[in-house]
């Protein structure tokens, strides 16, 4: 160190002080931790969402649990074939009904037979009809009678002191055969330390006589409180009866009383009688199906009118194919037709106004399933969801989801059974009541599989592609996560919700973004700084309005208001800009001295044109309604009256005005400028001519748009149904206005800051070159601030995409895909808010809501990424400023 004489009188210590160095390190660490922490937090949210969502797409699992011999099943061929079998919901006890009318209960775990109960039917059984989801079965016998049989499991809970010593030794989940004084059943110790005693009770009702000859086929369905039975004899006589429930108040029992019946004789086809009879769950259709795939449909809604053929369909496209199995799945609306090649198709009846059938409905094949490759020998439908299992001739069990058409799982025969001598096809199959197991009978063996179907109704296709849901006329995107009853399948198409989010965003951005940007340009470029400091906080104050308040106002005040004033609002959309432009002309026309003296009050005069515009709109509204909307806008929108011309006219009007404006600025304005130079027009003259030009151009715009509307109408297109449509009180327009209002402050603030950040010397340069403020703003300031303006828009967009309360309260929450401005929608966010409380934890629905959240996350992520990329590109251009 030299002994330099300090110039300022102070010697500078050149070594960094300890405190400064520590501060440097501390702040750097803090910032690093904060930054990484933020990234970690966001990623954690993402990972967590993913964690909940991923199981939706995991495949179903079916694993062999146990295969046991059950020699008693086919102890004696003459003893009777197995007709039906069932199991209780805990998979402890099963039962088998054979054609002799004997019910054998057995222990599922070991295959041991427990007890036999002869139903004493005095006749061999020919057919059993069951109603999915019900314990009742209908048994048809060779005597021509049908009996109701209730295969119910009675559950009793015994206290430890009431059971035997042996039973007390049971450990949890262990099952034993147990006998009480009057019953025999299975005993199981529950986790609560109680003993669950399960017994099978079979109650057989009185015989209902159908024929004197054996019943060949039987079908049953229970719509509401009715019972429909359809039976066919070996002669081809078909009887359909409708019964009503009669409660006996005295005994407390109920019985079926016939209220309607119809008979028809079905002739043979190629020497064969039908193979199947199916009555739909709604009790309105009866399908008679032959083995060659021919189906005859009867509408049985009105039996008193007799049985008439409604439609005839061939279920098999291949002429040589033979049906092996036809049966309903849950709900008894969709049936699966399996043929001997192992091909599977689902069919259901839909309403179709164009159908050639007498009842305007038609049977359609909605899904084709991956084939099993081997003839189907057994079929089982779930009693709680729309999955079904088929067993095939080669011993394979395959699980399908009926709506998505996907194959969920497949299980080839176990090594044991394939090795065994009497390798046999699967003869009977069963999905346990809780969908947690599959039980099959192969020859004289019972095989049990543990099933975890996971979330079969959620697949990429079912979520993001249109799907043909039961009874829908065509493939559609539908979101309907829960229905009134269990039979209604959940429809998990997310597209309507994503569409809703985009629609809400689009309409609110259309309204909010231009307003916010123009306001920002106005305050930063035109307003004096002293006014600006007052205006800016005022607009920012708008942001402090909670969105729930906005939504509340939108739903209860604004929506009804818009509904009554809709034609005025539409008129205002045109009259307001018009009045502003005319006001600007008027301003030019007043003498210079005045205009300069009044310049301070220009804002006031601009504001004056707004009430003028509203007044004009109010005056014009009845006219607009009369001319454009045939006198009644709501009915016009509904498509009841009028033509599409008015709608096209309104749609083309802004386009035509924009086009005319472009033509004017490109061709007419330069020409006018030149002429005004050549002929030395005075300012006033120029403005007069300009005004005339404006009016002519406006008129031309009106005419072109009218002409275009006529052309479109002549082609046969109608905007109703695309851009317009039935008016719903809570709609996209209302949300657009209110959410537009909500996003204005945020866009405005950021945009205004971005504009203010443009260096003053650029403005000076532009103004110094003789540019007007508007030219400076448009040519210099806005381009220089593009990156900031873009960020502003994107942040507004992000806010609009995620906004919940406003769309929840004012958006109608109807998950439909419709661009109609006057129709509602349901956004991802609103959907989550509405449905999360009712979603059962870890259910498909619950996970779907998480998927909705993830979609929202991804949507905003994409928006923000695009925003950032574009922003960086713009910023690179002006980084040197």
């Amino acid at each position: 160190m030299t002994d330099q004489k300090p110039f300022t009188g102070r010697t500078r210590q050149r070594r960094t002080r300890w405190g400064v160095a520590t501060g440097e390190i501390a702040s750097r660490t803090l910032i690093t931790v904060g930054g990484i922490g933020t990234i970690v937090a966001v990623s954690t949210v993402f990972v967590f969402l993913l964690w909940v969502v991923v199981p939706l797409f995991l495949p179903a699992q079916m694993t062999p649990a146990r295969e046991v011999p059950a020699a008693w099943i086919a102890a004696d061929e003459t003893d009777g074939a197995v007709l039906e079998f069932g199991v209780d919901e805990f998979q402890t006890t099963g039962w088998v009904l054979n054609s002799r009318g004997v019910v054998t209960s057995f222990e599922v775990e070991t295959g041991r037979s427990l007890a036999e109960q002869d139903l004493e039917l005095d006749s061999l059984l020919t057919s059993v009809a069951s109603v999915p989801g019900y314990a009742v079965h209908y048994l048809a016998g060779e005597d021509g009678n049908v009996r109701e049989a209730d295969f119910g499991f009675a559950t009793d809970f015994l206290l430890p002191e009431d059971v035997t010593e042996e039973a007390r030794a049971l450990t949890e989940d262990q099952v034993m055969l147990y006998e009480t004084d009057d019953d025999i059943g299975m005993l199981q110790k529950t986790t609560q330390g109680q003993y669950r005693f399960q017994t099978l009770n079979v109650d057989v009702g009185d015989a209902m006589e159908f024929f004197t000859t054996p019943v060949r086929l039987l079908t049953a369905s229970m719509p509401g409180n009715e019972l429909i039975l359809g039976a066919m004899s070996n002669d081809g006589e078909l009887i359909v009866r409708r019964h009503a429930k009669r409660e006996n108040i005295l005994t407390g029992t109920s019985s079926w009383e016939e209220i309607d019946a119809a008979t028809v004789t079905i002739e043979k086809r190629d020497g064969a009688l039908p193979k199947n009879l199916l009555a739909t769950g709604a009790g309105d259709q009866l399908f008679v199906i032959w083995e060659d795939g021919f189906l005859r449909r009867f509408n049985i809604r009105r039996l008193e009118a007799g049985l008439h053929v409604a439609e005839e369909v061939d279920l098999l496209p291949n002429a040589n194919a033979r049906l092996s199995h036809v049966d309903f799945i849950l709900g008894q609306n969709t049936f699966i037709a399996a043929d001997q090649n192992g091909d599977l198709r689902s069919w259901f009846n839909i309403r179709d106004a164009q159908a050639a059938t007498s009842d305007k409905t038609t049977l359609v094949s909605a899904q084709t399933f991956p084939p099993t490759g081997s003839p189907v020998t057994a079929f089982a439908a779930s009693s709680r969801s729309r999955i079904f299992a088929v067993g095939s001739h080669d011993g394979r069990i395959t699980l399908y989801q009926a709506t998505t058409g996907s194959q969920l799982a497949t299980q080839s025969p176990s090594a044991e059974s394939s090795a065994s001598e009497n390798k046999a096809p699967i003869s009977h199959l069963l999905l346990t009541p809780k969908d947690d197991g599959v039980i099959s009978i192969v020859g004289d063996r019972i095989a049990r599989f543990v099933l975890d179907p996971r979330h079969p109704e959620a697949t990429w296709t079912s979520i993001f592609r249109p799907l043909w849901y039961e009874s829908y006329p065509e493939r559609e995107h539908v979101w309907q996560s829960s229905g009134a009853n269990q039979d209604l399948e959940p429809k998990l198409g997310l597209m309507p919700l994503i569409f809703g989010s985009l629609k809400a965003t689009l309409y609110s951005m259309l309204i909010g973004a231009p307003l916010a940007l123009l306001a920002a340009i106005y305050t930063s470029e035109f307003l004096t700084p002293s006014l600006r400091v007052k205006v800016k906080p005022t607009i920012e104050l708008m942001a402090s309005l909670p969105s729930v308040v906005l939504g509340f106002l939108a739903a209860l005040v604004f929506a009804p208001f818009v509904e009554t004033m809709i034609s005025t609002i539409i008129a205002g959309a045109f009259s307001l800009p018009l009045c502003m432009l005319l006001g600007a002309f008027a301003w030019q026309l007043i003498p210079d001295q005045w205009s300069i003296a009044l310049a301070r009050w220009r804002l006031l005069f601009i504001a004056l044109s707004i009430p003028c515009g509203i007044l004009v709109a109010a005056l014009m509204a009845p006219l607009v309604e009369k001319v454009v909307f045939a006198g009644d806008m709501h009915r016009w929108l509904d498509g009841q009256i009028g033509t599409g011309i008015g709608g096209w006219f309104l749609l083309f009007l802004p386009l035509c005005f924009a086009g005319m404006g472009l033509v004017t600025s490109r061709y007419i304005n330069p020409w006018m400028r030149e002429r005004s130079h050549r002929h030395l027009w005075s300012g006033k003259r120029f403005i007069m001519i300009d005004g005339v030009k404006f009016i002519v151009i406006a008129a031309l715009g009106l005419l072109t748009s009218f002409a275009l509307a006529l052309v479109f109408h002549a082609v046969g297109w109608d905007p109703r149904g695309i851009f317009f449509g039935t008016y719903v009180q809570r709609n996209a327009l209302v949300v657009g206005f209110v959410m537009g209002f909500a996003i204005i402050p945020i866009i405005y603030t950021i945009a205004d800051d971005a504009l203010a950040a443009v260096p003053e010397h650029l403005r000076s340069a532009s103004l110094g070159a003789g540019a007007t403020q508007w030219q400076t703003a448009v040519r210099i300031v806005v381009p220089a601030a593009t990156s900031g303006l873009f960020s502003a828009l994107m942040i507004g967009l992000g806010r609009a995409v995620g906004e919940t309360m406003i769309v929840l309260m004012a958006g109608g929450n109807t998950p439909i895909m419709d661009w109609n401005v006057f129709n509602g929608f349901r956004t991802l966010s609103a959907n989550i808010a509405v449905e999360l409380p009712e979603a059962v934890r870890n259910s498909t629905h619950y996970r779907m809501l998480f998927l909705a959240a993830l979609s929202l996350f991804v949507l905003t992520f994409i928006v923000n990424t695009i925003a950032e990329v574009v922003r960086i590109r713009f910023r690179r251009r002006i980084v040197e400023l």
């Binding site: 010397h761 340069a765 532009s766 070159a769 003789g770 007007t772 381009p783 040197e880």
Partner: protein, 317 residues
Amino acid sequence: MPELSSAIKKEPTVSSGKGLKETLAGAVPVGTGNAGTAAAKPGPNRLDAIAKGQYVEPEVHKTVAGENFVLEVEQFNLWYGERQALFDINIGVPAGKVTAMIGPSGCGKSTLLRCVNRMNDLIDIVRIQGTMRLNGDSIYDRRVDVIELRKRMGMVFQKPNPFPMSIFENVVYPLRIDGERNKAVLEEVCERSLRGAALWEEVKDRLHQNALGLSGGQQQRLCIARAIAAEPEVLLLDEPCSALDPIATGKVEDLIQEIKGEYSILIVTHNMQQASRISDYTMFMYLGRMIEYGPTAEIFTRPHLSETNAYVTGRFG
């Protein structure tokens, strides 16, 4: 240069500023004797008086009063908020001549220049008093169209301020805002202006690259080109050469020499040689006041005031 000359040949309307000439003439004690007395006055006293805020009679050579003024300034005062930056300025800028403004930093040269095309309107706190006339048209009249006024004057700022767009677009910006679309015209004007600003050779191959990629000196010449392209009546140059190397400076000076006579030029400079080389008249300002104003040769060789002499010879300032 047909474009340039057509604009410049426009006969400057003879100023109606008789009053000003009389004021100027009246303000100056006629006769060298008087001037000699003034020069004999001890310098520090005058500067001290100014620093104390006392009124000091400005010294205007009588040759100035004989000129045709394109710009006249009368009793002009300016305040930035509470602080006064210009005091009682009375000057006339001769038409078709180069007038240089010299003076120590912060004396108000840029401020006065900005007042001429009303760029000070943009600063909220600025308050003015007095009149300015361009070719007889009042500049600060309420009825004046500021845009039209600025189109009559080209300005080059002290700090280069090119727009963040291509070099070509920068130069033709004044034409663009006039709605000129003819490509041939635009290109012609661009080339001539760039040649005039001695930039053409350097940028002719990269006309469509961003102007912000130019060096500071190139940017300043670009701004000069932009000012020329606007075909102004008066060119206001605020230290146009402060960021330029001697060669570019020489070229800009050549340009000024070339176009004077057609344009009237008001230039601020800290470079005494430059002022003496290019200007016809020079005014010396100090602390917001005009001190001495006369033909350049006189100001630099035999100024009336000793303070001026001290400044131009580099003994203070």
